[in-house]
């Protein structure tokens, strides 16, 4: 589903963010990207949905070399990849339901699809009774659920999560992990960057460890270390 071949990414004026990385993530996997801050986790994720382009190497998503994708097709790629962030990126002037339907509206999904999908997904993430609330009226955990609902409402093949529990207390984080696990069980490939040791050690999923931009460990059912 996601394949990196000898991928190197350097930001101008900075040291190398990702060095000759190789990885092969198959459909339906749940993968943790771990490593200290600055080790290249976010860069890895941004390369997958083409927010950045590699300086060297090739990246395949669903079998396609995304380096060869013309710029007008990038949106099509992103429709198959949901993204979740530490800071939620919710629109403060829109309600829960509006935030979620926004993701469908702007890709031109028909109104009747939006009308059925949005309440269903809000129910799925456990916010069925809060659809008319604004983000500021929600707890951090609830806001992250909205952002997951928005990322998942279009049923993407891949869900990228960049430290989704980074701003949450451990109890709330567990709830978010359960939700991501459920999404993964629907067949969606999940790649999650984190440096939350507890979560990685409890879940026992595949772990790819980055250090100064290099992949130093790739282990099935690994721990944080």
């Amino acid at each position: 589903m996601i394949k990196l071949e000898n991928v190197t990414k350097e930001y101008p004026g900075h040291s190398v963010a990702l060095k000759s990385a190789d990885a092969d993530i198959v459909k339906g996997e749940f993968v943790f990207l771990v490593g200290p801050s600055g080790s290249g986790k976010s860069t890895f994720l941004r390369l997958v949905n083409k927010q950045e382009d590699p300086d060297e190497g090739r990246i395949f998503v669903a079998g396609k070399d995304i380096g060869k994708l013309s710029s007008w097709k990038v949106p099509m790629l992103r429709r198959n990849i949901g993204s979740v962030f530490q800071d939620f990126k919710l629109l403060p002037n829109k309600t829960v339901a509006e935030n979620v339907s926004f993701a469908l509206e702007v890709i031109g999904r028909p109104r009747h699809v939006i009308k059925t999908q949005v309440p269903a997904i809000c129910e799925l993430v456990g916010l069925g009774d809060k659809t008319t609330k604004y983000p500021e009226q929600l707890s951090g955990g609830e806001q992250q659920r909205v952002s997951i609902a928005r990322a998942f409402v279009n049923r993407p093949l891949i869900l990228l999560a960049d430290e989704p529990t980074g701003n949450l207390d451990p109890q709330t984080a567990i709830g978010i992990m359960r939700l991501l696990d459920r999404i993964n069980k629907t067949g969606t490939t999940v790649v999650m960057a984190t440096h939350d040791r507890g979560i990685v050690d409890t879940m026992r999923r595949r772990v790819i460890e980055l250090s100064h931009g290099s992949i130093v460990r790739d282990e099935a059912q690994g721990v944080y270390e």
Binding site: V74, M76, L77, R78, G108, A151
Partner: protein, 297 residues
């Protein structure tokens, strides 16, 4: 993918009212710069009309005194025939002069009544070989001293001076119009950039969830287009007003020479089309550059 018209209309309207002072400033700048352009075009059309009217006209006129004898007239005729600087000339006799006179003063019967044909000077309308003002003036002076000659009129001189003056004026205005059009495109660029900045969260989310580039762009481009067109519409109004003012001024005098400076509705219509086109271009270019620079970064 179906473009959702209601969504785009809503977003464009939101952008326009989000920052009303900037919207108004942009519209007014476009209006001012296009009004300058319109005024320059008005003058240029006026000059074109003037030149059309006088293009085939004589370059100078040798007026002969009403009391001049036949011999004197013949002498002038022979001098003209022998002159190497004259390409062609035509004698306008008393009847023709009177017909022209009546035609010219048709709005003022009291003038026509006061003057009889015998009081009018006849004239030679001379086309010189070289249509250069200095050469023509030198040539004309040769006939000035001949007996029976009343005076020499350089029809072309007046037109030429007017031409020079108006072309300078319209070039200055055109320059100012181009400069302020550039300024208004730059203001447009900044306005749209501000709109993009105000909506950076939405734009970021749109890009992440895979909204197409055009879907993101169109509301901002339409905002620019709308502002450009409203500015242009205001400038069309001011050009119509200016033209009406010129027409009233010309009608209040008996000076028919400059009539071509009051344009008819076809000419005005074509200027209006140009101004609207320029407004659209300013809006599209300014917003297009802003959107491209922001989204392709």
């Amino acid at each position: 993918m179906a473009l959702r018209v209601d969504y785009i209309a809503k977003e464009t309207a939101n952008n326009l009212i989000r920052n009303p002072s900037l919207t108004i400033a942009t519209v007014l700048t476009v209006a001012v710069s296009l009004s300058l352009l319109g005024a320059a075009l008005l003058i240029q059309r006026g000059v074109d009309g003037l030149n059309d009217r006088f293009k085939d006209d004589v370059e100078f006129i040798v007026w002969v005194e009403p009391e001049a004898s036949t011999d004197q007239v013949d002498l002038v005729r022979r001098s003209l025939e022998e002159s190497s600087g004259v390409r062609d000339f035509r004698f306008v006799d008393r009847d023709e002069t009177y017909a022209e006179f009546v035609d010219f003063w048709e709005d003022s019967p009291e003038v026509i009544e006061a003057v009889g044909p015998e009081e009018l000077p006849t004239s030679f309308r001379v086309v010189p070989l070289v249509p250069d003002l200095a050469v023509v003036q030198a040539l004309g002076a040769e006939f000035d001293g001949l007996p029976g000659v009343l005076k020499i009129d350089f029809a072309g001189e007046y037109i030429k001076q007017l031409n020079e003056f108006t072309s300078i004026a319209s070039n200055i205005m055109l320059g100012a119009a181009v400069a302020s059009a550039v300024a208004s495109a730059m203001l447009m660029y900044n306005t749209i950039r501000t709109a993009l900045f105000a909506r950076r969260r939405e734009v970021e989310v749109m890009r992440l969830v895979g909204a197409s580039n055009w879907f993101i762009r169109i509301p901002f481009m339409l905002e620019g287009l709308f502002q450009g067109l409203v500015g242009a519409a205001l400038s069309v109004l001011s050009v119509y007003g200016l033209n009406r003012g010129v027409r009233n001024l010309l009608n209040s005098t008996d000076f028919r020479l400059l009539d071509s400076f009051a344009l008819d509705s076809t000419q005005l219509g074509s200027i209006a089309v140009w101004l609207l086109l320029c407004g659209a271009v300013i809006g599209f270019v300014g917003s297009g550059i802003a959107v491209s620079r922001y989204l392709d970064a």
